[in-house]
Amino acid sequence: MARALINVPAKAKRGDIIEIKTLMSHPMETGFRPTQEGKIIPRDIINRFVCTYDGVAVFSVDLFPAMSANPFISFTLRATNSGVITFSWTDDKGETQVQTASIEVE
Amino acid sequence: MRIVLLVTTLALISGPVAAQSPAPPGALTCSGCHGAAGSELPSLRGKDAATITQALLAFRSGAREATLMNRITKGFSEDELAAIAVWIEAQKDVK
């Protein structure tokens, strides 16, 4: 995995519903694509995405090969308190990449 | 029947085009790039079918160097290219 793009508002009012956007660079090899020589490229996808807010898992996704390359996942959260929002992507090899963002809630 | 008659009649008015048989597949496209003489892109007016066929086949096989015609001619069979050439030659009587 390479780099992720994350869009989390830096500030929010308590009770606001905030929109979060994430994009992770990844080829998401489907396991169905042949090379020029006709060999199938083995499947290699991110199969799990988890978002925690203040240490609690609040949103997650199970991904299948029909998710596009560089998976884009956008969702909402209710801003309850200032803290850290963590995002993690886990691929077929079991490797996990984590990124965080902080939010200030007034 | 009446329509056919009318079209034939109109052909007399507006020139011989209407009396032409339909252009073979692909032939109508050529004039989008090949028009009057004096352009960077060669005119096909007055060229005979044999010359045109030979050129098209040479583009298709790669024997003749080209920027685009090599890519286009690969989309046609030899017979189709020959039919296009015959049609282009016939256009010299038109207009």
């Binding site: 807010y53 609040v58 949103f59 029909a66 390359a69 998976p71 209710r78 | -």
Partner: protein, 150 residues
């Protein structure tokens, strides 16, 4: 250089435009129906309350924006637990399963998926009371005009 492999893809990929003109087909292909049964454990699905938004005409199925909304207050005792996306004609029927919580605030997700052909895409939501709802959309995937891929 320019022997576009996409042509092979396209030959497989176009079609079904006529299908779009008829009312949305009720029946789904067997594998999609099977995947949905597995997700709901065979429970009944109400065909309402879920909106699935995908552009109707796609020239490429590589990265297709999909937005799902479910009618729900997203309160502590009445919320959407899961939203699953399914498709009819890709090699596999599953696309993704989103797990939501009351903290989500809204039953709304936006993502990008792959579609190998014109087909029906379906979103099924599992509510906190264990009931299921769905919404679907028929989309046309043509082919990317003048895009070379080698």
């Amino acid at each position: 250089m320019s022997t576009p492999t996409r042509r092979t893809v396209l030959t497989l990929g176009t079609g079904a435009i006529a299908l779009l003109l008829s009312p949305a087909a009720r029946a789904t292909t067997a594998s999609m129906a099977e995947a949905i049964r597995a997700f709901t454990n065979g429970k009944a699905i109400a065909a309402s309350g879920v909106s699935l938004d995908i552009p109707l005409l796609l020239e490429s199925g590589n990265s297709v924006p999909a937005v799902v909304k479910v009618d729900s207050p997203m309160s502590e005792d009445n919320f959407v637990r899961k939203i699953a996306l399914f498709n009819e004609k890709n090699p596999l029927p599953n696309v993704a399963i989103f797990h939501l919580t009351p903290q989500s605030g809204r039953a709304w997700v936006s993502t990008r998926i792959r579609l190998s052909d014109s087909q029906k895409v379906m979103a099924v939501a599992e509510m906190s009371d264990g009931s299921f709802r769905s919404g679907s959309i028929e989309v046309i995937v043509t082919l990317p005009a003048c895009v070379e891929q080698n």
